[in-house]
Point group: C5
Chain length 338, copies 5
């Protein structure tokens, strides 16, 4: 499923402004226009989706603020790093959350996306260019199906659904990496790199958790509070996204437990490796140290050492030492010391 | 109790469709029919249980959706991996959860089962073929007892009861394995395999927890919300299943604590083994290293070393060394170093 | 306080059925009668306590079920292992919990006890023969005091009070054992057996926790829900048992923390012991290895080694080595390495 | 602040009974009287504070019970070890909690103190003689200020305030000890005694936690439930004590975290010390073992060993060994092995 | 962003009293006046901000208490160390919290700041001189914008916003330090100083947590309780500060997890370093100990040792030993022991 929605548009410079207006019969997509021209195209009898990519040009944001009469706090929330939340104002609903922007070699890049939902319009503010919605834009254009029949609240639901679905890509990625490390560990393979990978997994789960947990609360607020901006029959769809997010959180917690478990296995395997080595080396020393003592005895220069004059002294000592070494080896083996 | 309900039906290919209709007087079991034929057999004055095994043929699902006017989100929930939940729609109640499919050599296989409960019908969707309900199907057929007297809500209760009872099999399995490992550990036996088995236990408890926890919330919702699809007198039965699930969760937590405890014992035993070995080996070295020094002294080639010329020099040194070695052994023993 | 209520009756075979009926004036205790005869003795104007010990004879249970019109789920709950709970039915209140049956050498044996409380009767079902209530039975018989003045709800309160009081015996037992281990550890004494005892403590606390936690919830339900089977003035007594159980749980948690602390101390003491040994042994090796090198030098067979011919060569080397060894010892001591 | 309220009265034997009655104009302190005489002195138009120290004489308790018509459960709660709680009866409010009795060398001694608050009286039951209230008694006597203007509910507030303030003494004591250990550890000083002190800290925090946590719940109940025994304007004072207790709990948790941190530092410092020693010792061995091998070579007795006959053989070998040893030392140093 | 608001005013001695009064048209800043003179300047038709720096002169506090009729408990709360909280009185709202005073070399200095908000006045009490508000004071003076249009409640919001924004400075500081340590650790660099820095991070997070957590509860109370001192349209601003604090807490928890992770990496790196050293050293010993045994053999003084007389004996033994050493090295390398 990886990459399902991750078809990024070609990178461009500066902000991108685009307006999609539609109802069941008509569909219009406007691009490369100035803000004033775009705002003039908004049609009260259609759903109007105004999308802003790359939040650098504050004049455009100011223009939108003025036209839609947006609260100054809302604009602050759009421009600064925010905790995901839903907030109801008199004339619109505000929703901000984090969106997965890209997954590259295990590094997940998030961006903040904010929505303002009015009765016939939806404004979306994205931090970076390129998004997950191109496939969905096509579907609106071509398809005369459900999206075109419904209002802006349903449009927001679809976008939230796409965003939360993409969290699953991260989770799948994490899951695959956990499995790969598990396979390696089950074969007794582990090293510093394994440890670093596990730590990176933990870190990504910490960040994902930070991005996803507040979304649950925000959605729960929407579902329970009967917002005037969401039609009663659309509420069930929001409830479904809510269920997905709760499922995500469950999976996150499961992965967190599995990662902790991985770390335990890593440490255990590591210790076993080291202990194995130290044991073998120590056993070698232990066998040779007494032998060295014995040869030391017969290296003494006492005048009266009768064994030294015996003809079979040398082979006898060698034999004794061989037997001793063998005996110790057998004993250690029987005791299962190596 | 192991295997009580685990009497799997012979494996077949493709989907299985079956319809059981009954009231107090009549009972009918229809199989091997097309969906349209089956749907025509549904009788408004009886309880109709439509069961779908193996969710591969989307046309069948689509047909059922159309006939019962099921919500598109519900169908999505049936087809995709879901968090266990209960959801009420206008014309029916939706319940999805995980069911133990098989326990083989400590690996537990779950499948998702979803129910749609209407006033006179129950639809069950299973992922895989073969289920836990054959014994129960027989009981409905033969027995004119309570099941046949009651409605579809009671039928769903019985199926949920069978499913949760099967979780106990997993728990029993886990419990037995914990006990076996405990017995081994109490005899001081432990190795890498012990560690792997404990880790596997932890993993299974993590998955079981993920499967069971949300069921508690879903059932609690049913019991407290007075659903119109559950008769007041049947609610008590749902409350009983709820109690079982809470009991399960208690036991799960207990087992989790016991497994943590096992891991502690394993690590402790492991360390003791290693320390024992290292201590003995180090003691051997420690005794022989000073002795080797002594024999080294008398291996020196100084011209004027009076001891070398003494007649009893050699035996004297040997005796001294023997006494020294013995003294050290006794000292280490007294200090309880081995 | 140990053994206060643990005066077990002589063991007998099969089930024991007994009926105690009383009011302020009269008291009757019936034993060794058939169920039918006993049930005939139930008097509507008295408090009737029907006690069943040893749940083996299902006919008796079935007879009681029929006579008191007990729900089938209730009977299942009586016969199977249950999570402690309180449940209200139309005509009676059901309460099931675990009771300490015996404490032997640190092994605690629990049994399940279930109560059915009606307006003028109390049925108690016990798993095993012998109980904690004999002293209390005597008090009812002899004493014309408060128990005889009050109803069946007060009787149930007294029994619950006795049962929860007995949990304190377990807690006292655990507390004493914790203290004993603490004393040993504070003197630096620890070994594998200490570790096993701490693990056993942890295990018992896990089980006790499993038995006691749900009782809190069950009692809280009784106290808050104004059950029709409990008189308003008796509610305060149930609130008192509830307070005791909460106190128990507090103490349990405290003991759990203390046990964790014990384990830390054990591990620390263990490590210290081992480190002490390894350090001393390593120091011995470290002193003798350089000395052995020195004597090795003068064991070389070079022709031109002037020292070998010196008259004071041998004693000089011996002196140097002595000074060296002493110097190292002093240095290690100053550095506090042993 | 240490000792602010810890001015214990001289120890006496048996129970102490005392009655303080006051209103804005009058103040009376009665001592050394029999219970009956004291009870006769209670004046309905004043605040009457009856204090009982040392709960040994059950007749006195029984007399008080009868006079004030106290519930039997309340008396049980006074006499037995209780979890801190507040309980409202028809004619009075019951409050029991733990009070710091003394802090000696880091050992904290608690006693149970219980209060019965009526509309114009307050009874206090203390386990041991000597209390924290002497300074406060003086203030009532001398001062015509706020206490004398207000009722028994304000009197109880003042006593609770004194008791909770004394918990801060314990906390200060713990805080100072944490800091002292921290200072030692930051200088790298640690030993078994450090470990024992940290463990003692943990234990005291466990006990303090057990004493303080339930007080929060009890006070919260008083503040929220609008007890008829507490005047509306006094409620704010109880809320203030509640805030203090919550602050205490925050500090407790902070100290708990700091203690855990201390333990980590201790273990780390310990390990470093040991590793330092082992490393240095091992390095010494590692340098001398190859050298010993070299001198061993020239101790061999082969006939044809040309080096042995060289004039500069001996100094050459000595030089080589010196260079080798130095080289190894430098290498180890460069690798930062010591 | 560091230092944004940390422009401390020049230190002065004693208390500082200052009064700022403004409305949309007028602005006045009074300094260096006696309390009585200042209080006389308070104007009912303006917003009056009375600021007290350095709480040493109790007469001033007493004067303010009398003039504004402040509750004695409130004054106690101002003067003593308090848990952050919001409390509503009849004529004013009390809010106390901790403010970052300075960040120096990783040591964060907090001070307590308390606010009393009335309908047209705000009193602020600070512990130390110098604050974060100078830039903001200028903005009020110069700017005729929003602040001057709004009431005292908005003024308090702005001050709270500045205070919570400054917590982010601490968090940024902590974040940077975490990253720096992470970078070092990823290059395998770690030592005692790393450990100390991680511990200091943990400690600062513990303190920050203690300062910030209660602010959340206090603000949540303000937002939900519809305080009469906060205008409905200002409530949204307080909600925004509340969101910031929740975001702060999220980040705190994330940093706590990262710090734990750092500690794990430190310990792992440490152990690896040590193990690496011990392994290499042990391998050296293990290679030379058998060799020393071999040379010991040919150092024995037996008369009949044929090898000693062989011409090529010496070089043969040297060769054998070389091959042996090489073989062991290769074997250890193949086994990946170093």
């Amino acid at each position: 499923m990886q990459g399902r929605y991750l078809t990024a548009r070609p990178p461009a410079q500066g902000e991108i402004l685009e307006l999609i207006t539609y109802n069941q019969q008509e569909y219009e997509h406007l691009d490369n226009l100035s803000l004033a021209d775009l705002l003039a195209e908004i049609k009260p009898d259609r759903v109007n989706w105004l999308n802003v990519d790359g939040l650098t040009d504050n004049e455009i944001v100011a223009g939108i603020q003025q036209h839609f009469n947006l609260h100054s706090l809302l604009i602050e929330d759009v421009l600064e790093d925010q905790r995901p939340k839903a907030e109801e104002y008199d004339d619109y609903l505000f929703f901000t959350l984090k969106m997965v922007h890209s997954i590259k070699a295990g590094y997940i890049d998030y961006e903040q996306i904010s929505f303002v939902l009015g009765h016939n319009f939806l404004i979306s503010f994205q931090e970076k260019e390129g998004d997950l919605f191109d496939a969905f834009r096509n579907r609106i254009r071509l398809d005369q199906g459900r999206v075109r029949k419904k209002g802006a609240d349903y449009l927001l639901y679809r976008l939230l659904d796409i965003i939360t679905d993409n969290y699953y890509l991260v989770l799948d990625n994490v899951g695959e990496r956990i499995e790969r490390i598990e396979d390696e560990l089950s074969e007794g393979i582990t090293n510093d790199f394994t440890f670093q990978r596990i730590q990176r997994l933990r870190k990504e789960l910490i960040y994902l958790r930070k991005a996803v947990y507040p979304v649950r609360d925000a959605l729960s607020k929407l579902v329970k509070d009967d917002s005037p901006f969401i039609e009663p029959e659309t509420t069930r769809f929001y409830a479904d996204v809510y269920d997905h997010v709760v499922h995500l959180i469950d999976s996150l917690d499961t992965y967190k437990d599995l990662t902790t478990s991985l770390l335990d296995i890593h440490v255990n395997t590591r210790n076993n490796q080291l202990n194995q080595i130290m044991k073998v080396l120590t056993i070698i020393s232990t066998i040779f140290i007494p032998l060295t003592f014995i040869v030391g005895i017969y290296g003494m220069n006492f005048k009266y050492m009768p064994e030294l004059d015996w003809k079979w002294g040398y082979p006898a000592v060698m034999l004794i030492m061989f037997v001793l070494a063998l005996g110790m080896l057998v004993y250690f083996k029987l005791k299962k010391w190596f």
